[in-house]
Each structure stands twice: as structure tokens, then as C-alpha cells.
């Protein structure tokens, strides 16, 4: 049960609360049972990057901790080999 202080949509500290919406995201690599994130697969890695070429955060993509680490490493390897851009201006 919500306490009376929650009724006006404010939390304990008086700040407005934003309840989580929707279902939690599932890690793509866990779902697909991918065991190895290939740095050569740029089409796939691009899904985990912003248009500017930055690596998307875990909270955005929903990746698990292990796979986020693999993604970051793969993107960095791909950048070194000229397969992905460092920054898009």
C-alpha cells in the first residue's frame, strides 16, 4: 500500500517520482544465446552505437553486464581496424 505522502506523486524527499514503465529490456546476446561478440560484425555492433559513433549505455540497450563489456571491447577492436568510426561529427 502506498502511504499518504505518495498520493500527490511525491516521494519522501518531496521530489516528483517517476515510476518505471513498460517491461524490462532483455539482453540481445543472452536472448540469442550468442557466446562471442565478433568485432568484425559491424552491422550488429552498430545497433549498440549512437549515430555519432558512441557506444550506447547499458540502460539504453538493456544489455547484461557481461555482454556490454564484450560489446565495448568489440567496438574498440573494430575502430582500431577501421571498421567503425571513432566519432562522427
Amino acid at each position: 500500500m502506498r502511504g499518504s505522502r505518495d498520493r500527490d506523486g511525491k516521494g519522501r524527499d518531496g521530489k516528483k517520482q517517476f515510476p518505471r514503465k513498460g517491461r524490462p529490456k532483455v539482453c540481445y546476446f543472452c536472448k540469442e544465446k550468442v557466446t562471442y561478440v565478433d568485432y568484425k560484425d559491424t552491422a550488429l555492433l552498430r545497433r549498440f552505437m549512437s549515430d555519432r559513433g558512441k557506444i550506447r549505455a547499458r540502460r539504453v540497450t538493456g544489455s547484461c553486464q557481461r555482454h556490454q563489456r564484450d560489446i565495448a571491447l568489440a567496438v574498440k577492436n573494430a575502430r582500431e581496424m577501421g571498421l567503425l568510426a571513432y566519432a562522427v561529427r
Binding site: 557466446t35 562471442y36 568484425k40 575502430r79 582500431e80 581496424m81 577501421g82 567503425l84 568510426a85
Partner: protein
């Protein structure tokens, strides 16, 4: 022996025969160290995502081979002296297969 995979980035300003020589040189280096070459996947010329030095394009080839892990550092040390080779990256291939079979 372990299975390795090396992505080679060759200078695209050289003609196909010269690029072929670069790939042959790499294979020779593997063979000299008792390695066994597997399949070679030639991607050909591709646009780079950004400039590397003054290059905007590159010739890519993926080399798969078996090599004694003790010889790997020795092979890597020889790569900067391969003519026409701009960059290379080696990863273990067997890790992927082992994890996949789990």
C-alpha cells in the same frame, strides 16, 4: 596448438598482385613458425570508417590458422616488417568454439 584468426588490413594503393604477396608473406611467417593455415576469407577493398594515416580505403583479409601459443608473440613481432601491411588484429578462435559448445 590453438586456432587464431587475424584480420589483415593491407595498403589498397598496391595492385592485386602486390596485395597477394603481402598475404603470401603472412602465410609464410605462419608456416615458418610451425603453424598450419586454414581458410582465408578475402573481403577485398573497402572504405574505412575513418582515416588511418592518409588512407581512406583498405584491403581486408581474414586469415585462420593453427599455431603454437608460444610462437604467437614471435609472429606478432614480425608483422610490422611485412611490406604493404597497415594493421592487423589477432583473436583466438578456439575460445569462441569452446564457449559455443558449452
Amino acid at each position: 596448438m590453438r586456432t587464431y584468426e587475424t584480420l589483415l588490413l593491407c595498403d589498397p594503393r598496391r595492385d592485386d598482385a602486390e596485395v597477394g604477396q603481402t598475404l603470401d608473406r603472412f602465410q609464410a611467417l605462419v608456416a615458418e613458425r610451425g603453424g598450419e593455415m586454414g581458410p582465408i576469407d578475402k573481403w577485398g577493398r573497402r572504405k574505412l570508417a575513418g582515416e588511418i594515416g592518409d588512407l581512406t580505403d583498405g584491403y581486408y583479409a581474414v586469415m585462420t590458422y593453427d599455431l603454437d601459443p608460444d610462437k604467437r608473440a614471435d609472429l606478432e613481432a614480425a608483422l610490422p616488417f611485412v611490406e604493404g601491411l597497415v594493421r592487423s588484429k589477432t583473436v583466438r578462435r578456439d575460445v569462441r568454439e569452446r564457449r559455443a559448445s558449452k
